[in-house]
């Protein structure tokens, strides 16, 4: 453990920095903000999945004079939502590629007049054939994107896969699928934009990545960096869902503000938010694995395919994380992973906690169970025999440098869940009665920070400022949206400087004020940004010491005095830290070889379930979540991250189905898209191991996404255990279980039918 014995603040449950405002209703979200003279904006969207716009008619029932109307022609710069590829228009001006594509923007000072006005715009189209499944996209019967409907392909090739098949005692194949999932933050997306000729464009909004929005607005409006300002308001949940789409909404609000000369607020209602903004990518994974007689993986092929929807957005990087996690925490001497993101005529899919990993890990963990059945080993034993060990290499050839002992982690999880006693007890109980119980497991890993060279390209910067009142301020673009960003970064600064937690403040993320510490994604805040905050804080101390104002040892009060004196004499003191990639992190983007992540977090999750055969519904009775995440910076927040992630993943596994019809979400209401309530969740028992890690602040690694990866496979494994049936896709709703049991399901195979090749 690194430096633990001296720590006073890191590792303790200090109060959430903005907690008081939140529990008293004083926290200010974007919809709580009103500017003088403000208009409200709304979006006219396509109603067909694919086609060409012929004609737009404005209905006579509306007095259009009263409305501000913006079309693609009003865009001063480039008509795109700048991200990785600039293929997604901000407003469609000719082609329609999905059924929620923005075409026109309207604004009025009476927000209640907007829905009717939106309805009164009718668009005539030349319809074009559309495609809605990955298979249709692959068949290329219609080319809807680029030359071949493919946003990105990735090949990870390790060892010699050709040679493994003849050595195999068993060859095990399987296909696994996961569905789209809506982030369902409780605060809908929203933005306010204002344009002042003096200052330029300012937007305030609910968002994760201020500098993504900043970049998108510069391109859209053709403005230099200094004339665009992005301010993050308190953000009511995000989970990846406010990583990219806020750029679109900010762009729309900005265009209306530019045209009207007045501030414009756009707040989506729930239905628009659910239907039009991004969801988790649906996936299909095919495994073919060569296994030795004693259950060791000799090698295999993994085809990982995700449905990206109509535009490239973040699909290439979601694909990358999914592909790299497809081998899980197991040792593959030989493997070939072919990954592909394909286009369909649905609204683009995007970031959601886990970012591709929950999809490929679901497939792998189900496949491990299938291998276990074929080899006739227990799900426990098959995992134990294949766990990665320190010194071995991952699928990208990254040597495991941490002293992780997955076997020991597994043993502890088995003990905590009382696994073997339950297994026996359930087998006995299941002989009678209409309720069948089962227990299932998943072991997995999650890489912290951007993939490969991503952090090097980001080159994040943070600043820590010594203020004239003697306090210290952390300046980052990392956003708080529930995870505890503000709290942990202030803990880190306080710890690094020997101050009290109360002495540290957090600057509101505002691109005019804070440097670009990168987007708030990828489980990177605690590890990458935290480490930079630690360095920048130490820089403040060094400056104060160098100027003779601070001794070798000092009290918090002496530090305050030193700050005050320094600022009085020299003006403001800011210390900057910029990310530099450690030398041992080497990545070859072309070959997908090398250190994919600076650190991995590791976990073993165990779920116990009951399936009621009267209703075919599953209830999770007990859930053990054991993980190694490096240093736990804040025990209550860390536990909250795990429980919350597990809860979302239970939804992903058992409740949440997006019902599609020609690319449009049919159940875009909280009543019909089912997330768990307080009555639905089991006790979720959270346990940490802390190994420490040199790359993170005080040894922290990533935590936010990890708990999204494991619950679905563990639960589906438990359901399979209860019913002696193998399920291979999620969401697994009662209707699917019924279909499987009634013998007509595509979602399941009976246990015996997994193919062996002895």
């Amino acid at each position: 453990m690194i430096g633990v014995k001296d720590e006073r603040i890191v590792g303790t449950a200090v109060p959430r920095l903005e907690g008081r405002e939140k529990i008293t209703g004083q926290a200010r979200y974007v919809d709580d903000m009103v500017l003088p003279g403000m208009l409200y904006g709304a979006t006219v969207r396509s109603r067909i999945p694919r086609g060409k716009i012929k004609k737009i008619t404005f209905g006579p029932e509306i007095n259009w004079q009263e409305f501000v109307i913006v079309s693609a022609k009003d865009i001063p710069g480039k008509n795109c939502v700048a991200l990785i590829e600039d293929d997604q228009p901000c407003l469609a001006d000719e082609f329609i590629n999905h059924p929620e594509e923005p075409i026109l923007l309207l604004a009025h000072e009476d927000r209640h007049l907007l829905p009717k006005a939106v309805e009164a715009v009718s668009v005539e189209y030349h319809p074009l054939s559309a495609i809605f499944t990955m298979e249709e996209s692959e068949s290329r019967s219609e080319i809807i994107w680029g030359a071949n409907n493919t946003f990105k392909t990735i090949l990870i090739d390790k060892g010699d896969v050709q040679g493994v098949w003849e050595k195999a005692h068993y060859i095990v194949e399987g296909e696994y699928r996961t569905g789209a999932q809506e982030q369902l933050y409780i605060e809908n997306n929203g933005m306010i934009a204002a344009f002042e000729p003096q200052q330029g464009l300012t937007v305030w909004g609910s968002l994760q990545c201020p500098y993504y929005v900043h970049k998108a607005l510069m391109e859209l409006c053709g403005l230099p960096p200094g004339r665009v300002r992005v301010v993050q308001m308190e953000t009511g949940g995000a989970f990846g869902g406010k990583e990219e789409y806020p750029s679109m909404i900010a762009a729309h609000a900005a265009l209306l503000a530019l045209k009207s000369g007045r501030p414009v607020k756009i707040i989506y209602d729930r239905m628009e938010d659910m239907a039009a903004t991004t969801k988790r990518h649906p996936s299909r994974t095919r495994h073919r694995t060569a296994v030795s007689k004693d259950g060791k993986i000799l090698g295999g092929t993994i085809e990982f395919t995700i449905d990206g929807g109509a535009y490239a957005t973040l699909s290439s990087v979601v694909l990358s994380r999914g592909a790299i996690h497809a081998g899980g925490p197991y040792y593959w001497p030989n493997v070939r992973i072919n990954a592909k993101a394909v286009a369909t005529n649905a609204p683009p899919h995007g970031a959601f906690r886990g970012f591709g990993a929950p999809q490929s890990i679901f497939a792998l963990e189900r496949h491990m169970d299938r291998i276990a059945q074929v080899v006739e080993l227990s799900p426990i034993e098959i995992r134990r025999r294949n766990f990665l060990k320190p010194g071995q290499t991952t699928t990208t050839g990254q040597a495991v440098s941490e002293p992780i002992d997955l076997g020991r982690l597994l043993d502890r999880a088995l003990e905590l869940s009382n696994y073997s006693a339950k297994k026996d007890e359930f087998a006995r109980q299941n002989q009678n009665g209409n309720c069948k119980r089962g227990i299932g497991i998943a072991s997995f890993l999650h890489g912290a920070g951007f993939t490969g060279a991503g952090e090097r390209y980001l080159s994040s910067v943070v600043e820590v400022e010594a203020c004239e009142d003697g306090g210290v301020r952390v300046l980052v673009s990392s956003a708080e949206f529930g995870q505890g960003t503000k709290t942990i970064l202030c803990q880190i600064a306080a710890e690094a400087l020997g101050l009290r937690y109360e002495d540290v403040r957090f600057a509101q993320p505002d691109t005019q004020e804070v440097p670009n510490s990168g987007p708030t994604v990828a489980s990177r805040t605690a590890m990458v940004v935290g480490k930079l905050v630690q360095s920048a804080a130490i820089g403040i101390r060094q400056t104060l010491r160098a100027s003779g104002l601070l001794g070798e040892s000092y009290s918090a009060e002496e530090f305050r005095i030193a700050c005050r004196k320094y600022v009085a004499a020299h003006g403001k003191l800011r210390s900057l830290a910029r990310y530099e990639q450690p030398e041992d992190i080497v990545w070859n983007e072309e070959k997908y070889r090398g250190s994919a992540y600076a650190a991995f977090s590791w976990a073993v999750y165990i779920a116990a379930v009951t399936v009621d055969l009267t209703t075919y519904s599953v209830s999770v009775d007990d859930f053990v979540a054991l993980q190694e995440v490096g240093r736990v910076l804040h025990p209550v927040l860390a536990k909250g991250q795990i429980i919350g992630g597990v809860a979302q993943a239970i939804g992903f596994a058992l409740y949440e189905r997006v019902v599609w019809d020609n690319g449009r979400m049919q159940n875009a209401q909280m009543t019909n898209y089912i997330m768990p309530t307080s009555a639905d969740l089991p006790p979720i028992r959270v346990y940490f191991e802390e190994m420490g890690n040199v790359h993170g602040a005080f040894g922290a690694k990533g935590i936010g996404e990890l708990p999204m990866d494991g619950p679905a496979p563990a639960i589906v494994s438990a359901v399979g255990d209860a019913l002696r049936t193998f399920f291979n896709s999620i969401p697994l709703l009662p209707e699917d279980i019924f279909d499987a049991i009634a013998g007509k399901g595509e979602n399941a195979e009976h246990a015996g039918s997994a193919r062996g090749n002895p």
Binding site: H112, T615, N672, I674, P676
Partner: protein
């Protein structure tokens, strides 16, 4: 919010007779709104056809529970919470108390009313199967007076009732003759709370000497209207509960219901679960119904 409040009129005359005379004066124009848990949802979605609404929330004439020797009269304006906390409803009409506790969350139970549930006439409504099983009668009231009608044929088609445009439901009357019945209810929803039923069942029966002497079974979400399963009841009546009867009951149930595929579930799932629920009820009846 997809509606403009200025385009809607809402009045609250404050007394039943004033509401009724308004309904009589402009027949079919005024939509009564009680707790708003259905009407306001449609309104906010911009889908409420009515433009004139009259509030019947908290009218004292509609919000009382009267107990008579032969029946209990529940004012149509009583909320689910009112039903849940009423001792006698809980004791003698547990199916109704149960259904009330299953409807929405606490905030919606504090506003949603039994009369609103009937008039909204969703086939998925949680409390309506219970009313069918208890052989409820409705007291309908208009400016011209009252009439009392059986609830059993009040729903005539999907979301259509026999209520005249100038009428309100004044009260729901439940006969107090079921104390010796074994009652059983089950809601199958997509989650444990705040859920719209995929199938729900309310049933009660009396077992004598191992034979089903009398039985009533009703279901929600399996037909265009809340459905009393009369043929299923007939197939069970005066028979002992054994494997053959369970099989028969499942078959008759499947033949009697008309479930559909929709965004919430599938017809085949609903049909199977409906059969299972009836079988489960009969099994519970045979093991526990003897004491009742």
């Amino acid at each position: 919010m997809r509606a403009h409040p200025a385009n809607y009129e809402l009045v609250a005359p404050g007394g039943l007779s004033a509401v009724l005379s308004l309904l009589a004066k402009e027949r079919g124009v005024w939509l009564p709104i009680a707790g708003g848990t259905d009407v306001m949802v449609e309104y906010a979605a911009g889908k409420l056809p009515a433009r004139k609404l009259v509030s019947i929330w908290n009218l004292p004439e509609l919000r009382r529970i009267e107990v008579f020797p032969g029946e209990i009269r529940i004012g149509a304006g009583c909320t689910y919470t009112d039903l849940r906390v009423h001792d006698m409803v809980g004791r003698e009409f547990p199916l109704l108390a149960n259904a009330a506790s299953w409807t929405g969350g606490i905030a919606n139970q504090n506003r949603g009313t039994i009369g609103g549930n009937i008039v909204n006439a969703s086939p998925a409504a949680d409390s309506l199967p219970a009313l069918l099983v208890y052989e409820a009668e409705l007291i309908l009231v208009s400016a011209n007076g009252e009439r009392r009608v059986p609830y059993s044929n009040f729903h005539v088609a999907y979301r259509k009732t026999r209520l005249a445009p100038d009428e309100l439901i004044r009260a729901v009357c439940l006969p107090r003759c079921f104390s010796r019945y074994y009652a059983h209810a089950r809601k199958v929803g997509p989650r444990k709370a705040q859920a719209i039923a995929k199938v729900c069942l309310a049933a009660q029966a009396r077992l004598e000497n191992g034979v089903v002497e009398d039985i009533r079974v009703a279901m929600g979400s399996v037909a265009p209207v809340p459905l009393r399963l009369v043929r299923t009841e007939d197939s069970i009546k005066r028979k002992p509960i054994d494997a053959a009867l369970l099989r028969l009951a499942r078959q008759t149930t499947a033949a009697e219901i008309q479930p559909i595929d929709d965004i919430r579930s599938t017809a085949s799932y609903r049909a199977a679960v409906a059969g299972n629920l009836v079988a489960e009820f009969l099994q519970a009846l045979s093991t526990r119904g003897m004491q009742g």
